[in-house]
Each structure stands twice: as structure tokens, then as C-alpha cells.
Amino acid sequence: MRHYVILISLLVLLLGLTVWITSLDWIKEGVYRPFAWGDIANCTKAHLEMVVIAELIAIAIGVPLGILVTRPVFRKLTTPIIGGANVGQSIPSLAVIAIMAPILGFGLQSAIVALVIYGLLPVLRNSYTGISNIDPAIVEAARGMGMSRRQIARKIELPLALPVIMTGIRVSTVITVGTAELAVLVGGAGLGRITLAGVYTMQPLTILQGAAPTAALAIILGFILARVEGGMTSRGLKVKAEMA
């Protein structure tokens, strides 16, 4: 309940700021005007598109790869891939984005590649931990009862790892929404354009006109994905939390 109060107050603040700034006549009397509602709507749409595309690619790569490195056949890849993901996570997002310019040039594809790379890490890591943290006794019992590898993966491992994988996807999505704001620097679209205009003119109100709806978007997406996560978690895994 308290959580909802915090969340809703924050959303009201962020959206209220957006509405207020957009309704102003001038950001700076006679010099800068606020962006129009149409700009905000278009930028939000572009922002969402970019995030969704990048996130879907990150999931499509990260989840299978994370699961694959838990299989005995690919044991050799575990350390380089998971270790690499851990190291990669400490590299600043801005550096990942900026480096795309010399490699791929300026443009939407650079922005999306940067977002995929940065968003991939939590998905990859959580998919790996989700599977490898399953109590080995559970898998052994399943094998001992005559389940095939496939049946174990589908009936036991995936359902047990799903909550952890979903957490990774949620964290990754929230990060990507924020990182996407910086991706305009290498040619991305979205609300970052408004923010960047504010940065170049050093107008906090213009910065907020782009950044506040971005923040609201991150919070809303995070909330929705948390609910999805809860819905996908097997009831048997929740009972402990209820008892504790």
C-alpha cells in the first residue's frame, strides 16, 4: 500500500511537471518556447519503439545464451561469457553509447545496437543465475524419475528460473528507457531529443520536459513488468514468501 502511494505521488509529480512545462508560453521569456504536445507524443512513441526493439533483441539473445551456458556441453563458454557480462556491467552506459559513433557511425542503428548491448547484460546474467541456482537435488530427482533432458528443461528448470529471468528483463527494460535518452547523442530518436535541446540551451525546464516523461515511462514499464513477473511465478514459489 505504502509502495503504491510512493509510486503514484512520483508519477503525479513527473506527469504534472510535464503538463505544466508544456502549457507554459515561454521557457525563457522571448528566447525559448517549450515543445508542443505533438512533439512530446511523437518523441514518446519513438522512444518506446526504440526501447521495445532493443529489448526484444536483447531478450532474444540474452535468454537463450544465458541458458545455453548452463548446459554441460557449453561449460567452457560459461566463464568468458558470464565473466564478460559482469565486467561489462561496470562499464558506464555513456561510454558504450559513445563508442558506437566511431564504430557504426551516427544513426538509429548505432543507438539500437548500443541499447541492445547494454540491455543484454542483466538479461543474460539473470537467465544464467536463474537456471544455475536451481537446487541440483531437484534436477537429480527429475532425472532419477526418468524425465528426459527436454522434459526437465520445460517442466522444472524453466518454471523455476522464470521469476529470476523476468527480473532481469524488468531491470534491463528500466535501464534501457533511461539509456535511450542518451542514445540520441549517436543518432537515436525519442524523448532524449527534447532533453538534449535543454542541455544545449542549459534550460532545466526543457531538460525536464524530456526527462520527466522518460522517468514516468521507466516507472510505468517497471511496474507493469513487476506485475507480469508476479503473474508468471508459480504459486508454489510464492507460498514461502507468504509464510515468512
Binding site: 505504502r2 509502495h3 510512493i6 509510486l7 512520483l10 513527473l14 565486467v87 561496470s90 562499464i91 558506464p92 552506459s93 555513456l94 561510454a95 558504450v96 559513445a98 563508442i99 559513433a101 566511431p102 551516427f106 528500466v174 528507457v177 533511461g178 539509456t179 535518452e181 542518451l182 547523442l185 549517436v186 532524449g192 532533453t195 535543454g198 542541455v199 542549459m202 532545466p204 525546464l205 531538460i207 525536464l208 524530456g210 526527462a211 520527466a212 522518460t214 522517468a215 521507466a218 516507472i219 517497471g222
Partner: protein, 221 residues
């Protein structure tokens, strides 16, 4: 790559300057963040503070989901409305302190909560005061987990400090932005690579500090 190298050879003092600026910002921010985070963490881990703890930890968690530009914008607005300097060092440091809170606060809280109650009871049984318990039993046992939180916080704010160059805070974000604005690939590479190396170095260094502050009896091997 080669251009970046040539630039570095030509202007080593510039890179040194940006690096020092960067380090100074994160140093000021982390010192304040640690003091604040540990004090709040200790406070909310007390008995009967469960609701406060829940609220504060959730606030810190939500703050993390807010992209840095929104925090910068809000701080600039707030600071200028109270007549303080709204760009540069001040809003950057405050934002970094806010972002550093969650890892430090959460780890302090969970580490203190995780101390075996039997040890606390043993301490009480020997006649330790609550203060002695905190400094002689609970904090030493929790220190390595707290340090792990500090390590996460530092790595995180190194990255955000780079973004803070956008609001005039200086540091290694400066060559990145200047490069991106003027399509100077050498500056982009120089800034991007330097800030990444800095993050990895500090991460490793903090890993060592984490090990070093762990009481000997708790060290693995």
C-alpha cells in the same frame, strides 16, 4: 583509435585534468553517500523500524529507476529556485549521492539484519551496551557486505558522473560530449575508453578494499 592516441600524446594534461575532476566529484559524492547510507541503514535496522525501513528502501529503489537526466533536471530546477548555483558541481554531486544510496543503504540494512541473533545475544549476555554491540559485533560482522555495497555504488556513480558533464560538471564526460557534438571521433574514443578503464580499475581496487576490511576470521581461505 590512433587519433585518440595522438590526441593523448599531444595533450596529456587535458586527460589528467578531466580524470582528476571526475575523481574529485565521485570522491566527494561517495564520502557523503557512505556516511548518509550507513547512518540511515543502521537507524532503520533497529527494532520496531520495519515500516520506516520498508518505506526508505523502497524510495531508494524507485529513485534508481529514474533516469539520471530527470534527477539532474529536477535538481537544477530546485537549486535555481532557492538561488543556488544550478549547473555544474553541486547538482552533479547531489545526484550522485542520491544514486549511491540504494546499494549502500540496502547492503548496510541487510548485512545488519543478517547478523546471527545468537551472536547479539552472546554480546548482550556478556554485558555489552547497545552501542558496544553495534561497534564491536554488528558492524564488524557486516562490514564486508557494506563494502560490497559501496563498491557497487562507486562503479554506478562513475558512470553517472560521466553523464553529469552534460550539466557542466566536468570530468571524463567532457571529451565524450565535445566529441559527439563536433563529430570528433578521437575525443569520443579517448573519453569513452578512459572512463571505462577508470570504472574497471576502481571496481578492482574496491574489490581489494572489500577483502582488506573483512575481519580475518570471516575471510575465505
Amino acid at each position: 583509435m590512433l587519433d585518440a592516441w595522438q590526441y593523448l600524446i599531444a595533450h596529456p594534461e587535458k586527460l589528467a585534468g578531466w580524470t582528476l575532476e571526475h575523481l574529485w566529484i565521485i570522491f566527494v559524492a561517495i564520502v557523503i553517500a557512505v556516511v548518509l547510507g550507513v547512518v540511515i541503514g543502521v537507524y532503520i535496522s533497529g527494532r520496531g523500524k520495519e515500516h520506516v525501513a520498508d518505506t526508505i528502501l523502497y524510495l531508494a529503489e524507485v529513485a534508481m529507476t529514474i533516469p539520471s537526466m530527470a534527477i539532474f533536471g529536477l535538481l537544477m530546477l530546485l537549486l535555481s529556485s532557492v538561488g543556488l548555483k544550478a549547473i555544474g558541481f553541486l547538482p552533479a554531486v547531489i545526484a550522485l549521492i542520491i544514486y549511491g544510496q540504494l546499494p549502500i543503504l540496502r547492503n548496510t540494512y541487510t548485512a545488519l539484519q543478517g547478523v546471527d541473533p545468537a551472536m547479539i545475544e552472546a554480546g548482550r549476555g556478556m554485558g555489552m551496551t547497545e552501542k558496544q554491540l553495534l561497534f564491536k559485533v554488528r558492524l564488524p560482522l557486516a562490514i564486508s557486505v557494506i563494502m560490497a555495497g559501496v563498491r557497487n555504488a562507486i562503479v554506478l556513480i562513475i558512470g553517472i558522473a560521466a553523464i553529469a558533464a552534460m550539466i557542466g560538471a566536468g570530468g571524463l564526460g567532457v571529451p565524450i560530449f565535445r566529441g559527439l557534438r563536433n563529430a570528433r571521433l578521437d575525443l569520443i574514443i579517448l573519453g569513452g575508453v578512459s572512463v571505462s578503464i577508470l570504472a574497471l580499475l576502481v571496481d578492482n581496487f574496491m574489490g581489494w578494499v572489500e577483502w582488506w576490511v573483512t575481519p580475518r576470521g570471516l575471510k575465505e581461505r
